[in-house]
């Protein structure tokens, strides 16, 4: 391809979605998690995946990362069909993806510095001085340059997630996947994480997938949102469009209503049966 052609091709490729999920079905045992869903994740934006616990949000990230295989359908990442790749090609693709696990998944026998340096030590042969500078730059970006010598056991939950974020960014990925980054965080840490995710996505030109059931935080930074329930995408659009959605399911989730399409009561036999009550008498007229 000529230089001129490459210059023309680049902007077009930027318009293509980074991730395309096509007709994906996945089940665990007899439980159907995804039933023929399709969605796309654009480049350079933060895409929120929302839904109540147990709807398969984390499973979706594992399918994108090739840690799980779908029963049917395809997952395309940057033009590659993830589940047809060889192990070597899959690992090459993963080097361009960062993932922030729900609890950080830091290596407990390594210090903060060594945790962030881990992918560099495994995949590169950089001189120690350059490696040190890169690690400290990433730690500085998440505000933890001063915590480099701490052990992981000495970190709070929020700090552990920031260290994990620095580690996810150390190989300069094109995509970062956040798995429930806000769960169990205090308001200050929550604010720090929300700002970090938005700022880093914009400053580093990343594409981000933000899996969460924290409505306010996700809507405040996402450019586009998908809402999942019962194995389907039940709503998608900008945060404003999702908030304006009038379907009962989306309203119950967004407003945190106790009863609705997702019932308050777990399926059970009737009250009369459980409490051995006599049948209700018809009122006599």
């Amino acid at each position: 391809m000529s230089d001129a052609a490459a210059c023309v091709a680049a902007p077009e490729s930027m318009l293509e979605p980074l991730i395309e999920i096509r007709n994906l079905s996945f089940s665990r045992g007899s439980r159907l998690i995804f039933d023929n869903i399709s969605l796309s994740i654009p480049r350079g934006q933060i895409t929120g995946i929302m839904g109540p616990s147990g709807t398969g949000k984390t499973t979706l990230l594992k399918l994108v990362g090739g840690q799980l295989r779908p029963d049917a359908g395809e997952v395309w990442v940057d033009g590659l069909n993830v589940h047809t790749l060889s192990r070597r090609a899959l690992f090459a693709l993963r080097k361009r993806m960062g993932m922030l696990f729900q609890h950080g998944a830091l290596l407990t026998d390594l210090s903060v510095f060594e945790n962030v340096a881990f992918p560099l030590r495994e995949h590169t042969r950089l001189p120690e001085s350059m490696l040190r500078d890169l690690v400290l730059m990433k730690l500085n970006a998440v505000g933890l340059r001063g915590a480099r010598d701490l052990q992981t056991a000495e970190l709070s939950g929020g700090m552990a997630r920031r260290v994990a974020l620095a580690r996810a960014l150390i190989l300069d990925p094109m995509l970062v996947m956040f798995d429930e980054p806000f769960t169990g965080q205090d308001p200050i840490t929550l604010g720090v994480l929300v700002r970090l995710i938005r700022n880093l996505n914009d400053a580093l030109g990343l594409s981000s997938i933000l899996v969460s059931h924290d409505v306010a935080e996700t809507l405040s930074i996402a450019d586009h949102v998908y809402v999942l329930a019962d194995g389907h995408v039940i709503a998608s659009g900008t945060p404003a469009a999702i908030q304006a959605d009038t379907s009962p399911w989306v309203r119950q989730f967004m407003q945190g209503l106790a009863d609705g399409p997702v019932p308050f009561q777990y399926p059970a036999s009737s009250l009369q049966d459980d409490f051995r009550l006599p049948p209700l008498q018809e009122p006599s007229s």
């Binding site: 990362g65 840690q67 690992f91 993963r94 830091l106 290596l107 407990t108 992918p119 995949h123």
Partner: protein, 263 residues
């Protein structure tokens, strides 16, 4: 009437299916680990770290247990041999018992309790805290980076620990037999020198301990890697490591003794 029978059949079927699934996972684990083993030799630093964790930290229990076993052999051996007027043979009884059987077997059992359970718990914890999944997502193969160095450490450590166990045991037997019960020191050592054969006894003992090492560390690593990633799952896996290793070592010891010593 038919329901209890059907339930029983269903439970049996479920048990068989689970056992087969577990066997399948065991083979998958083995197929994944085997190619990772040669590559991990190129990173000796990781193996040295594990040699410390698996070997050096097991020294205390191995040495103390070896000394006590040797002393008990000294006491029991003397009381039996003295009945037949051959107390001078105490050295060879202690040495052969240790080198052929007790050294490799007891070291493997102690290894399962100390290092094997620790390996299972460590891997199980890494799995339950998503450290292994995190490595996978960082394009690092946990079998190469985490499991293989621990495998080599276990296999290299076991014969050394068994040799130390036997050595300390012989010294323990000496302390009791010669120091306490009055067996002649020269007889104790010369009987060992003349009766313990290098190839027949010592090499066979080493072969046993290497094989026990492979079995013990394999079981420990598989149980940790395969455990249900919860606190309960890790504790169950740790228990299974100790039980399964103990049974496997004792069963294997019977087979190997029958093959090696032409009994």
């Amino acid at each position: 009437m038919m329901r209890p029978v059907l339930n029983l059949l269903a439970r049996i079927g479920q048990g068989v299916m689970e056992a087969l699934a577990r066997l399948g996972r065991w083979f998958v684990f083995m197929l994944g680990l085997l190619p990772a083993l040669p590559a991990s030799l190129l990173r000796p630093r990781l193996i040295v770290d594990q040699l410390y964790q698996v070997g050096v930290l097991s020294l205390q229990i191995i040495l103390v247990a070896g000394a006590f076993v040797g002393m008990v052999l000294g006491l029991q051996g003397y009381s039996i041999l003295a009945t037949y007027g051959s107390a001078e043979s105490l050295g060879v009884v202690v040495a052969l018992s240790l080198v052929r059987e007790l050294g490799p077997v007891l070291t493997a059992l102690l290894f399962a309790g100390r290092a094997g359970s620790a390996l299972t718990a460590e891997l199980g914890l890494m799995k339950s805290t998503e450290q292994l999944a995190g490595m996978e997502m960082m394009a690092v193969d946990p079998l190469k980076r985490v499991v293989a160095p621990r495998f080599w450490a276990g296999v290299l450590t076991m014969p050394l620990l068994a040799a130390l166990f036997s050595l300390v045991g012989v010294l323990g037997g000496y302390a009791i037999g010669v120091g306490l019960l009055g067996v002649d020191s020269g007889s104790y050592w010369s009987q060992i020198q003349s009766q313990v054969d290098f190839r027949e006894d010592i090499i066979n003992g080493v072969i046993k301990s290497v094989l026990f090492g492979v079995v013990a560390v394999w079981i420990a690593l598989f149980e940790g890697y395969d455990c249900v990633p919860t606190a309960e799952g890790v504790s169950r896996a740790t228990t299974r490591t100790v039980v399964n290793t103990s049974l496997a070592v004792l069963g294997l010891d019977f087979v190997m003794t029958a093959l090696m010593f032409n009994v």
